[in-house]
Structure formats: structure tokens, C-alpha cells
Symmetry: C2
Subunit: 327 residues, 2 copies
DNA sequence: GTCGCTCATGAAAACGTTTTCACAACGCAT
DNA sequence: ATGCGTTGTGAAAACGTTTTCATGAGCGAC
């Protein structure tokens, strides 16, 4: 049927061991190496990676588990992760959990069965809390969301600082009735809320916060409700790009302009936040850097397993646009 | 070291064959099945998928090869493909080619070495032309871009009709000097150009076309140049979402408003095309449907290999917005 | 010239499963 | 009772590699 290493060996007049060594990096004389290469070309041989993995006990595979690849933040991160993986000669298995704890568990089990080299994972808060390093025989690097300290390597934004920075910026621009709308499933949103909260207190302002599932539709509905209530806030801070989109839609639908009707600020510097008029003030995350750093942590841990747990904290960048214009 | 099926067998007091059958669907008495399940729980056994694949000669894996997952079109399609794959108990390997023929070849080879169950692939025009079915031992379903007729199963938009529809719409709105800007690497862009061309001829209008690499930056540069030339077109049709974004940026930068300064229309109903003001007229692609159909074709071919090659052609939907307002 | 040493090579074991094959036990029709 | 298909089970082969182990050749040092 399919051509295997035995056929190549026969064609080259050598043993299978020599073929394996010639294709890998074992010591083989130049003459034989050439014979083998010729035989490979002649037979059209393609190594069977399953067999290779089984025998060598090394999958050369990275698992990437995110909430939803359609979230541009994860899309961008995934691209960086993929680049790093393939550059290191590894493949990438992609999984979408939809923020569902059950699917998270399912995919983590799958990764064990795949005997993957390592996993990059953006867990929900619930799962992050239960994640115990000793349960995993491979490096597990958390991104965007973080677990309890000391658990796993991870790379996150300085969310608290970013949340505060948005408040500071709005205060500076003359706003005081500043509300916050945050995602309900991730530790990230929690931290951003904490940043919002502490900055509000520092400025002596009264916080007003709500939570929604981190998706555009629920956010739109919530903001629509909020806008219809008496005592509408002067400004609204939201905790990610999807929620920001929902907020924008709700404001448009209610005929509320920004920053006049309500000032808007959020996270994720997606292209559309600049194209819309007036532009939206956002905290830009270094998305590619997050993916690259995550893979860096992963490879480091493979090399030095005993190493203490590291958490890379990256700073966001405030991009001020018209949506938070001076009041 | 790690617990294998032998350990489970020993713990349950049965043979490895029985364990395998109990976990699969072989005939096993209820009593033994329970013993095995208990032993699995007790030992914390996780099957080794590499070994399983090697022996059963079935990878239960789908490869997805696209130009760039950051292109929202591919993001959305990939999500649908992933859902279908995991629903069928298969994993997904993701590859980004960056429209590079060499990487396309690399990944196709990788898929052979993985002995994947099937592949969903969005090839560049160049690669699509050279793709010969007999070179692949697995079903290969093309999406978005298409190869020579009769080659592979595929699912595509009716690009010619869509390209014409945009022209018809613009003519109806009173425009006549309608230009076209198309991606230079995909057959898709070619077809959309053909649709544009034939509609222009049909209306007795003179076509004006240019090509760019299908990405936002080159598109922005080209449109900027175009806008600066004398005899600026009244309307511009572009062949995908990234190019549309470039065009919008260029218009903004040049202080050209739409539809007054230049009418804009394109492809891909991404959220921002609605949020921007005035909204952009686009052809909406049924992205989820494309992914689902592709997996359908793939599974069908697995079931009935001899079946004639099928090409599913889906219709786009014209969404008229302010960017093509009456002239 | 003999003793170690390195080096290239082949035979065979090993990786962890599934599947084939053989067989025993059982029920059922003769 | 005998024969026969069915069913559940275990021993062992098989999947396609890499790796271990043994061997023999080549070579410099004494």
C-alpha cells in the first residue's frame, strides 16, 4: 500500500536504521546519505508522523485553547502563536471553548491524549481557579486570563493599570459620572474592573458597574437598557472589544452620539475603532507580543522544567480618540 | 512511567484486547465493561492517540489551510469548520500560508505526513492550478478559491454574479465612472473582476481596473495614488474586506467623503462596515455556511469516494448602505 | 603489533494501541 | 447426543517509526 521506511531501505540497499538516521541527524556517511535521499525521491516516501511520535515520545505539537477565534484579540494572538510554533517545527491544534467550562475540560483532556508538547490556554475564571499544575504532564501557559499566583506561567496585560488609565483619562477630560461595563467570565474583566474601581475611589467618584457575558449581543442589550434609564452616565468604560461593539450599536440605535451623549472608552485597538467617527478611545494590547511571549515561556519551561513560575505582565497603551473628547 | 492499556488490563484482570474493546465499541460483557471502566478511573488512564492512529490507520484529524486567520472571512469560516470537526470527533490542525505558494506546498506535505482524514484549503490561484487530485490520498475540499473544473470538491461564492450585482447596483444609483480594485493572488478576485467587467460592458460603460496584493496596506497605498490622479472615478468596487479597509483609510486620509467624493462598495459584511458612517455597501458572504458545506462535502467524499466532483456555489447577498447613495 | 577508541552500520527491540486469529462456551435446531 | 452458528475472551501480530545494542572497521598511541 503506502510506502514506508522499509521500502526506502530496500531501494537504497541499507537498513531502516540508516534511513532513519539519514533523515534525522544521526551519523551517516555522505555516500549513504545520498543513496537514501535518492531512494526517498524515487519512492515518494513520506514519514508517518503518528509512528514517529509514538516511538520518539515527542509530539511536536502545540495546543491552543481559546474562547472564540472570532474574537479579534484571540485571532491576532493565535497568529503569533502559530508563527512561533511552525518556526520551531511544531504544528498547532486549535480549540474554541465558547467560554464553556465543560468544553475546556474536554479539550484539556484531549491535549493529554495527544501527548502534546505544550498548551497555550485562555481559561475562564472558574477553570483558572481549579487548574492544578501537577495534573498536567506538559507546560501550560495561560494567556489573557490568569490563575491563582504561583500556578502556571502566563502572560497578561496589566489590566488594573489599564482600567485605571481609562478612568484617569476620562477625569482629565472633564467627566465625573463614569460607569463601567465588564465581562462576567474572565479574570481579565475582573482586574479591569478593579482598576476602574480603585481609580474612581482615588478621584472621589462614585462607581457604577454592571456585568454582561462578554459578547456583542448581550452587551448591546444591556447598554440599550442602561441608556433608557434615568440618570444616564456621562461616560462608559467597557472591558473588551466585543462589548465595545455592542455599546456602539446600542448608542447608535438609541440615537445617542458620542462623546456628546455619552463618552465611550474600551479595550482592543481593532481597526474599526479608528475608522468609526468619532474614533473610539481604547487601550491597545500588544497582541502579537502576547502570543510570542507565551510561546517563549513555553519553550523556556521545556528547557528548564524546574524553573520558578513566571508571569509576564505587559503594559497596554492608551490611544485617545474623539469618543472621549473634552466635556 | 505513564499508565498504558496494559496497566489498565492488569488492574481489571483482563487482557488488553478486552480493554480496547470496552473503550471502543467491541462486544464485551457488561460485567467486564464495568470492571474496565473502574480500572480506567482508578489508574487515571488516558489513551495515547498517536498509538491509536498508528494502529487503526485513521487520524481523525482535519487540516485547515488558509491565507491568514486574521482575515475575518477565514476566521468565521474556520470557526464553522472547527465546530463541524469536533462534532464529528475530529481535531483541527490550523495553518496560515500568507498567500505564499511555498508554505502552501509545505503544509500540504505536512498533511500527508499527518495522514489526515481530510483537508479544507483556500489556495492561491497559482497553487490551485497545479493541484492534482491523484497526488492526495485524502479528500481535499477547496473553499473560497477554486481550481480547474473537475479537480476537487469545493464551495465558493458566485463571485461573477456578485461582482456584477455591485455594478448593477451602482448604475442603478446613478453612477457611471465605476472603477474596480481587485486582489492579485486568488481566483476569487479574478471572478469578481470578470463579473465587474461583463456588467460594465453590458451597461456600455468603460471599465477601469487595477490589482493589488490582497491586504489593507497595499490597497490603501494604491487607492491613495488613484485618488490623487486626475479623472478620479465616481465609484470604486473592491474585491474583499481587507482591500475595502484600505480604501476607506485612503479616502479618509485624502479627505474624500463617500458617497459624495467617491462611492464605495465591496465584499464581506464585517461588523465595522455597518458601524462606519455612512455605512458601506457590501456583498455578504454566508461564511458559516461555507465552512459547514465544506465539511459536508468532505464527509460525503469519505463515505462515497467514487462520487463525481461537486462544486457548491453559494449566492452572496447585496447589502446596500449609504456609501453608494444616489448620485 | 596490540590495545583501546571512535565511528558507521545493521538486527532487533520498543513505543501503545487495535485487530486478527483461535478457541471455548453457549444456545438452538436437528 | 450431535452439529452449527454466535458470542465473549485472550494471545499474539501488526502499525511504521526510532532507539538500543552489538559488531566490525579504521586509526592513533604505546
Amino acid at each position: 500500500m503506502t510506502v514506508g521506511i522499509r521500502d526506502v531501505a530496500r531501494a537504497a540497499g541499507v537498513s531502516t536504521a540508516t534511513v532513519s538516521r539519514a533523515l534525522g541527524k544521526g551519523p551517516v556517511s555522505d555516500a549513504l546519505r545520498e543513496q537514501v535521499e535518492a531512494a526517498v525521491r524515487a519512492t515518494g516516501y513520506r514519514p508517518n508522523l503518528s509512528a514517529r511520535r509514538l516511538r520518539s515520545q515527542s509530539a511536536q505539537t502545540i495546543g491552543l485553547i481559546v474562547a472564540d477565534i472570532r474574537n479579534p484579540f484571540f485571532t491576532a494572538v493565535s497568529r503569533a502563536v502559530e508563527d512561533a510554533a511552525y518556526q520551531a517545527g511544531m504544528r498547532l491544534i486549535l480549540c474554541n471553548t465558547g467560554e464553556d467550562a465543560e468544553r475546556e475540560a474536554l479539550y484539556l483532556r484531549l491535549m493529554q491524549e495527544e501527548r502534546v508538547t505544550g498548551v497555550v490556554f485562555a481559561p475562564t475564571r472558574r477553570t483558572a481557579e481549579r487548574l492544578r499544575p501537577e495534573d498536567f504532564p506538559f507546560p501550560l501557559v495561560l494567556i489573557d486570563r490568569t490563575g491563582p499566583p504561583g500556578g502556571h506561567d502566563g502572560v497578561v496585560l496589566d489590566n488594573v493599570a489599564a482600567g485605571s488609565a481609562l478612568v484617569d483619562h476620562l477625569v482629565e477630560q472633564g467627566y465625573s459620572r463614569i460607569a463601567g461595563l465588564f465581562g462576567s467570565t474572565s479574570s481579565t474583566a475582573e482586574e479591569r474592573r478593579d482598576g476602574y474601581l480603585s481609580a474612581m475611589r482615588r478621584h472621589g467618584l462614585e462607581p457604577r458597574m454592571r456585568n454582561v457575558p462578554p459578547d456583542a449581543e448581550p452587551a448591546q442589550a444591556e447598554v440599550a437598557r442602561w441608556l433608557a434609564e434615568p440618570g444616564r452616565p456621562e461616560a462608559l468604560i467597557v472591558s473588551n472589544g466585543l462589548i465595545l461593539m455592542g455599546a456602539v450599536r446600542a448608542a447608535r440605535a438609541a440615537g445617542v452620539a458620542w462623546p456628546g451623549g455619552i463618552a465611550l472608552a474600551g479595550f482592543d485597538n481593532e481597526p474599526w475603532t479608528e475608522l468609526i467617527e468619532p474614533g473610539l478611545t481604547v487601550i491597545e494590547q500588544p497582541v502579537a507580543e502576547i502570543g510570542t511571549q507565551a510561546m517563549g515561556l513555553l519553550f523556556d519551561r521545556l528547557k528548564t522544567p524546574g524553573q520558578p513560575v513566571r508571569k509576564v505582565v505587559l503594559s497596554g497603551r492608551l490611544i485617545a480618540r474623539g469618543s472621549t473628547g473634552r466635556r
